[in-house]
Structure formats: structure tokens, C-alpha cells
């Protein structure tokens, strides 16, 4: 019965084709370092899901941001768990993405024909760091405030356009309600949409080109 249903769907959707292409493709003999890409993807999904749940109670205004997070931590069932996963998952994601980049670099997996996989990977590394930067302000505590002050001062050292860059990042001369809401928008809409899109391209390239083998000693 169930196989009949599956066959009916498969005939119309081509599920086995997708399965064979995406999951059952040939790979060279590799090691555990090659799991870091999948780990990064799973962490991205985990951050997405826990992030969606956090927006249920989070309020992106300076008046309420801190209090709403206190409420998530102490007032809502398992709020501590969901925020905890999002908090530690963020750190872990930065670590896995950087480790993934280092593995690719040391195994020379970025070479022909996989240059574009590398380039999209660099975009993903930078957007992941952008997520870290924008997410850090959202609790609106002292650490957030001063970290964002410093991070938005840094582009200010660029010759000529520096002060302009700083005020664009802040949405004005100071860290304010505008800074918080634009960081929030970047954190939950712009950057995740961009990451999802670029992950799509990255994975298409991996499926199309396959992954490279571990270089031999004489290579």
C-alpha cells in the first residue's frame, strides 16, 4: 500500500531522481573533515527555526528589547532552551563555517573547476559573520551596545567616506532605535534570504561538480 503511494508520487514528482542526484551521488574516499559543510547547513536551519520561534516574543525596540528577552528566558516555557540553542548555535556556526573554509583551503579543493563554489563559500562566510554582528545587538544590553559602537566605528576610519559608512550602519549619528530596527531587519530578512539563496547555488555546484578527493602526497 505505502509503496503504491510512493510509486504514484514518484512517477509524478521524480523523487528517486532527486534522491539519487542529491544524496546517493558518488564521493571519493574522504574523512570527517568533509562533514563540516553539512554541519554548517544543519546549523543554519537550526538557527532559522529557533530564530523564527524567538521572534514570537522578541520586540525590536530599545524600550522593550531587553525586557522581552528577559521574558523569553524567565516567563515562557522552554524559552531558555530556544534562546540557548540560538545563542550557542550562532557561535558553533561561525566555528564550523571557518573550519569548513580551512579544510577546503588545506585540501586545495577550491581549484578548477570549483572556483565558484569557493567564491559562494566566501560570501556565505561573510554573511554568517554579518549575522553574528547584527544578532549581537539584539539583546540590547551593555555588551551589545558597546560592541556595536565599536563595530560601527571601524568603517569610520575609511578615508573620506568613513563617517558616511558609520552613519549608514547606525541609521543616524548614534546607536538608536533606528540602529536596532535595521540590524533586526538585516538579521531576520536580508541576510538569511541572501544566505539561503547562496547556499542554493553552493549546493548546486557541489552536486554538479562533485567533491574533490584528498590530495595525494605527490600532488
Amino acid at each position: 500500500m505505502s509503496s503504491k503511494v510512493i510509486n504514484w508520487l514518484d512517477e509524478r514528482l521524480g523523487l528517486t531522481g532527486i534522491y539519487d542526484t542529491v544524496l546517493d551521488r558518488n564521493v571519493p574516499k574522504v574523512n570527517w573533515w568533509f562533514t563540516l559543510g553539512s554541519a554548517s547547513l544543519i546549523l543554519f536551519v537550526l538557527q532559522g527555526v529557533t530564530g523564527v520561534f524567538l521572534t514570537v516574543y522578541y520586540s525590536p525596540t530599545p524600550d522593550h528589547a531587553y525586557d522581552s528577552i528577559q521574558f523569553i528566558m524567565n516567563g515562557v516555557a522552554y524559552g531558555w532552551l530556544i534562546r540557548g540553542i540560538h545563542h550557542w548555535g550562532a557561535t558553533l556556526m561561525v566555528i564550523t563555517v571557518i573550519a569548513h573554509m580551512l579544510r577546503t583551503f588545506y585540501y586545495a579543493a577550491y581549484k578548477y573547476p570549483r572556483e565558484l563554489t569557493w567564491v559562494t563559500g566566501v560570501i556565505l562566510l561573510l554573511t554568517t559573520l554579518g549575522m553574528g554582528l547584527t544578532g549581537y545587538l539584539l539583546p540590547m544590553n551593555q555588551k551589545s551596545y558597546w560592541a556595536t559602537t565599536v563595530a560601527t566605528e571601524i568603517p569610520g576610519t575609511v578615508p573620506i567616506i568613513g563617517p558616511f559608512l558609520t552613519s549608514v550602519m547606525r541609521g543616524g549619528p548614534d546607536i538608536s532605535a533606528l540602529t536596532l530596527s535595521r540590524f533586526f531587519a538585516l538579521h531576520i530578512w536580508f541576510l538569511p534570504a541572501m544566505i539561503a539563496l547562496v547556499i542554493g547555488v553552493h549546493m548546486y555546484l557541489i552536486i554538479r561538480l562533485g567533491i574533490s578527493h584528498i590530495p595525494d602526497k605527490d600532488e
Binding site: F53, V56, H64, D67, V76, A77, Y78, I82
Partner: protein, 161 residues
């Protein structure tokens, strides 16, 4: 490959991964449901005796207004509500406490000494000294608070849903 009566490695892995996935889904799914509904089922009923000060401070025969505020916390937001209570000492010991909310549409009624009447400014609702409707649209008499006197201090019982 001949069919072995034992479970194959591939089958074992499939069952194991399926079981592990189910456990993980439940472990994550149940807290997620609790997270979404917990504030909605948490009842925030207040049932408090609020002090109105010494009974001696209220004149006999003349309804006197006492106002106070109560704060309510919803999530991360605090709302302060103000309440008005008319204390009427019909005799030394016979105390009745009325809410100053008009029973029509919850405007605040005012006691007028010279006319001996409660007047609602919104739609000319009128109540007599015992809270009975004597004019205008209010559907029922003024609401009363349960009260008690302890050591000479008057308390009303405030219930909020």
C-alpha cells in the same frame, strides 16, 4: 546476495536513524509547542484585599471617593490601571463600597453632594446614594466591592480576571 534471516546492516541503520530522528523531533517539538502556548494558558488572576486607609477618615452619610492604581504585567509590558471607589458609611459601622465605573459603558461616575446623586458624564446615567439606577441608560445598579474592616482599616476585595 541471498536474503539473510537476520536484519541487514542497512536495515539496522535505517531503523536506528528513524528512531533517533523521532526521539529528536519529539524532544524539540514538545518544548516548541509549550513555548508557543505557555503565556496564553497562564492565568493571571489577581485576588487581593486593597487597603482604603482608616475607616475614621471617611465621613458618615456622605459617599467619598478613594482612588488607587494597580499595575499589571503582560509579558514585558506593564500597564497601570486606575480604580475609583466610593465609600459610603450609611451609619458608623454599615459600610458599602461602590465602583465608580458606570454600569453602562464604564465611564466614571461622580457624586454630587447638593443633588445627592451619582452622575455619569457620558450619557447622563443617574444613580441614587444606594447605587440604584434612577435615570439614563445604565442597565444595573453600581457594582459593589466586598469590604471588611480590620483594626480600624477599611479593605476592599479586588478581583481581576
Amino acid at each position: 546476495m541471498t536474503k539473510s534471516p537476520h536484519i541487514s546492516r542497512r536495515e539496522f541503520v535505517a531503523i536506528f536513524v528513524g528512531a533517533l530522528g523521532t526521539i529528536m523531533a519529539v524532544a524539540v517539538g514538545l518544548p516548541a509547542i509549550g513555548y508557543l502556548i505557555s503565556p496564553t494558558v497562564r492565568t493571571k488572576k489577581t485576588d487581593a484585599w486593597v487597603s482604603m486607609g482608616p475607616l475614621e477618615g471617611y465621613p458618615v452619610g456622605q459617599p467619598t471617593l478613594f482612588t488607587f492604581t494597580r499595575a499589571r504585567v503582560n509579558g514585558w509590558e506593564k500597564t497601570v490601571n486606575s480604580f475609583g471607589v466610593y465609600v459610603w458609611r450609611e451609619t458608623e459601622d454599615d459600610v458599602t463600597t461602590y465602583s465608580n465605573w458606570c454600569t453602562h459603558l464604564s465611564c466614571r461616575v461622580t457624586w454630587r453632594d447638593e443633588e445627592e446623586i451619582y452622575v455619569c458624564p457620558c450619557h447622563d446615567g443617574l444613580f441614587d446614594i444606594s447605587g440604584k439606577v434612577v435615570g439614563g441608560p445604565p442597565p444595573r445598579p453600581l457594582d459593589q466591592y466586598e469590604n471588611k474592616v480590620e483594626d480600624g482599616v477599611l479593605f476592599i476585595r479586588l478581583e481581576e480576571a
